[in-house]
């Protein structure tokens, strides 16, 4: 082992690779910060108009409500992106802490805290990996016999087989539970009502939905998705929202009417004096269904009662919709997966019809009516109306908003645009283009970002072209060696050209990098000849410099043989003294500046010159 390690350490190629990795890491970190500064500056400068989308009317409200004569403001869905929030997201340290904090990231794929919420020691819920059970602690008001009330702390253990107040192996084990985080938002209401509603969760490993009733202390298991059934790969259920960072914002307002005591003759009105046409709950609620996001970007509907996916019928395709593909710099994408998006938000809409004991009293609300009425309705009918879905592109420069009706059909769609007024004409510019060129100094920053990307090794830039889609969108912003958000990588998503054309035009994006690599390779080649590297070594260095550009050049300068060259007396060029023959003219070694004497007194090498006596005799005769 020891000779192997020693041999490795003293081996020249090993030294080159080691030095190369050190240089690559340090250079990549430096270039990351340049790109980061350019990117953040562009985000801050992005024109505000290019960040918003508005669809009015929303298209999901029943016509009798939308077209009510009293309506002064139609239903509207509004989506906005906040690219300056990308700053923290780009940095892994923030992502690390935020995702591990209780409540953590609600997104799929990334790390998530096992503590679903934490209010205090007596009010929290977490997944205990050891036992495989969900532990829920809460306090409940209890009326005592003497009519006083007290708070009782309850600790429940929930497994696939049931609920218990003591930890019990017979409850079974969850392995990879995904809960509906929307339930966390609503639990306050439930607690106020004196009980907890049902929590639906999906276990990735067990491939099954579960409905947990904390009041009844029951667990209902839905049908198991087939092991080989790859049509359904749920990654998030209920509240579909990717990040804890507010990278995008989605909001819906219902049609609004004027508050009755407002003077109808008064011209103009303030929005503060308007109210929704019917009581509206702004929580994400899909009525009788639960939204389930698939890893393909498809959004399915799960029946809350049966815990089965809504089946496909001639009237209903069984799908609530898809995450819309934002229109990036090089064009839109037909379909996107959650991994490819920096953020997404989905807002379902449901209409609730409440029937009371008095048959003439029928009230309609948007969403869950729980807290609108003092007394509970006798019967409730819930109808799913559709959903709004907003997607933020991988590089955070484009937002798409789509509206899907109850049949899952896309009825409206819009992308972020910047409206420009030039010479009496208005033009719409894609928000991605506005991001890079739409604000003062943006072109300069964009060129800065572009040039910084071109200092990256060409081979890694080309690799980024092929591997961009393999990176999860957020982690792409933290990538060091590959650049999934570089111009060349974004070009990979351009569907407007065929594969070959797309690749060739992508190479044009890294032309400065290629030119730099060629120039540096020429310099390395010339120096390698001077320094006397072998033909093979020279060839490797040229290839390496063409592939790795500036990194390889710096590595070469650090690892080239540090030998002072001497002038060859034969050819007059500089040669290496550690070589037996001149590597230029192949002449033998000769040191003209040293003039040693002719004679030698070495053991066993006494010379006998026959001719000297005869020469002496001749000289005497003369």
């Amino acid at each position: 082992m020891k000779p192997l390690i020693k041999g490795l350490a003293l081996n020249y190629p090993v030294k080159v690779f080691a030095t190369g990795f050190v240089v690559l890491t340090l250079l990549s970190i430096s270039l990351f910060w340049f790109r980061y500064i350019c990117q953040m500056s562009l985000s801050v400068k992005m024109p505000g108009d290019a960040k918003d989308i508005r669809i009015e009317p929303s298209g999901l409200v029943p016509p009798e409500l939308e077209n009510d004569p009293n309506v002064v403001s139609h239903s509207r869905v509004f989506a906005s992106m906040q690219p300056e929030e990308k700053g923290p997201l780009s940095l892994g340290i923030f992502d690390y802490f935020i995702t591990r904090f209780p409540g953590g990231r609600r997104s799929p794929g990334g790390h998530r805290s096992n503590v679903y919420f934490f209010e205090s020691d007596r009010d929290c819920m977490y997944f205990d990996k050891k036992s495989g059970q969900i532990v829920h602690l809460y306090t409940k008001k209890q009326t005592m016999l003497d009519i006083t009330t007290s708070l009782k702390m309850i600790q429940l253990y929930v497994g696939p087989e049931g609920v218990s107040e003591t930890q019990d192996k017979t409850l079974g084990r969850f392995i990879g539970p995904i809960i509906d985080h929307g339930w966390l938002e609503r639990r306050w209401i439930d607690l106020r009502e004196g009980g907890l509603s049902e929590l639906i969760l999906y276990d990735k490993k067990l491939r099954c939905f579960f409905k947990i009733d904390f009041n009844q202390r029951t667990v209902v298991k839905g049908p198991k998705l087939g092991k080989n059934d790859r049509r359904h790969e749920p990654i998030q259920i209920g509240l579909l929202d990717k990040t804890a960072f507010e990278l995008s914002y989605l909001n819906w307002t219902p049609p609004r009417i004027r508050i009755p005591d407002e003077d109808p003759n008064k011209t103009g009105y303030s929005t503060a004096k308007l109210k929704p046409i019917i009581p509206t709950d702004y929580d994400c609620d899909a009525g009788p269904y639960l939204l389930v996001l698939d890893e393909t970007g498809r959004i399915d509907l799960l029946d809350k009662e049966t815990l089965e996916f809504v089946k496909r019928t001639p009237e209903f395709p069984g799908v609530a919709g898809r995450l819309p593909g934002p229109e990036t710099y090089f064009g839109p994408k037909d379909s996107v997966t959650p991994r490819e998006l920096l953020d997404y938000k989905v807002w379902p809409l449901a209409l609730t019809t409440c029937f009371f004991e008095n048959p003439e009293e029928v009230r309609v609300t948007f969403g869950d009516p729980s807290y609108f009425f003092k007394r509970a309705p006798a019967r409730v009918e819930r109808k799913y109306l559709g959903m709004f879905a907003a997607s933020l592109s991988r590089d955070g420069t484009a937002l798409a908003l789509a509206v899907f009706d109850e049949k899952g059909k896309r009825i409206k769609e819009s992308n972020t645009r910047l409206t420009k007024y030039e010479g009496g004409h208005t033009t719409q510019v894609q928000s991605s283009k506005a991001f890079f060129f739409g604000a003062p100094w943006s072109p300069t920053l964009t060129i800065g970002k572009y040039l910084t990307e071109n200092l990256h090794p060409p081979i890694l830039s080309v690799a980024s072209y092929f591997t961009a889609s393999a990176f999860e969108a957020a982690s792409g912003h933290r990538a060091l060696f590959f650049l999934p958000n570089s111009f060349i990588a974004i070009k990979a998503g351009d569907r407007g050209e065929n594969i070959a054309e797309r690749f060739m035009s992508a190479l044009c994006w890294i032309l400065p990098s290629i030119i730099l690599a060629i120039w540096l390779a020429c310099r390395v080649s010339k120096d390698a000849v001077v320094v006397g590297l072998s033909e093979n070594a020279r060839a490797y260095w040229i290839i390496g410099t063409l592939a790795f550009g500036l990194t390889a050049y710096i590595t070469y300068r650090l690892t080239r043989p540090k030998i002072t060259l001497v002038t060859c007396p034969n050819c007059g060029k500089m040669r290496r003294p550690d070589m037996v023959k001149c590597h230029r003219c192949k002449s033998d070694w000769h040191v003209p500046e040293l003039i040693p004497p002719v004679w030698r007194v070495l053991k066993g090498t006494e010379k006998v010159h026959e001719g000297s006596t005869a020469d002496a005799e001749e000289a005497v005769v003369e």
Binding site: A18, V22, G92, F118
Partner: protein, 210 residues
């Protein structure tokens, strides 16, 4: 080997004392500030205190590496040791082990204290499972990586190159924690960087004239 390590420790005792003192001070500060901890809020204050503290520590470790090599070069310590019953590889290995010991003296007490404080002051639920360990591992690897940077830049007879070079490279390298956080990715990068740096240092030390 023991004699070589002992020699290194004695020659650079000031770093060991500094490491122990810093560790003690940091533990005391952590204990006195733990009452501010609110499990419902992100530990912004801790991060705000911890990041500059970690940075100072890592600069100190880098300086130790640079100083070890620089003093060796100027005082011709390895030139003497190489003529005794010691090989160059052992000299360098002893030096590296000394560096690791200094980092451990700095970090292990803090890790243990942090683990205890987290256990005592956080609710008895798996709130931050493995976080103390993950952060400690990354900080250790980052410190060792910067120490390796110091070893590389320190082998110089001019005082300027080791100090400025080490400072400059460390300033570039430490923000890697900001970029990557404390997860698996940074561990992989740090391990590869450490291996590469050590190979480079090894090669330089084994082939240079003493």
């Amino acid at each position: 080997m023991y004699a070589l390590i002992k020699r290194e420790i004695q020659d650079h005792i000031v770093y060991f004392i500094g490491a122990a003192a810093f560790s003690a001070v940091f533990i005391i500060i952590s204990i006195s500030l733990i009452h501010r901890y609110n499990p419902k809020e992100p530990p912004v204050f801790s991060i705000g205190l911890g990041v500059p503290a970690v940075t100072i520590v890592i600069f100190g470790i880098c300086a130790m590496g640079a100083t070890q090599m620089y003093l060796d070069r100027t005082r011709k310590i390895s030139a003497l040791l190489s003529t005794l019953a010691v090989s160059r590889s052992r000299i360098l290995l002893a030096r590296i082990i000394t560096g690791i010991l200094a980092i451990l003296i700095l970090l292990v007490p803090q890790t243990i204290a942090a683990g205890i404080l987290v256990r005592v002051f956080t609710p008895h639920i798996p709130m931050f499972p493995g976080m103390v360990f993950e952060i400690s591992v990354v900080v250790f690897l980052m410190a060792f990586a910067c120490y390796c940077i110091g070893l590389q830049t320190g082998w110089n007879s001019s005082a300027l190159t080791p100090s400025l070079g080490a400072l400059f490279l460390t300033c570039i390298f430490i923000p890697l924690i900001l970029i990557k956080g404390f997860g698996v990715h940074i561990v992989v990068i740090l391990v590869l960087f450490i291996v590469a740096s050590l190979l480079r240092t090894w090669h330089t030390f084994m082939t240079t004239s003493l």
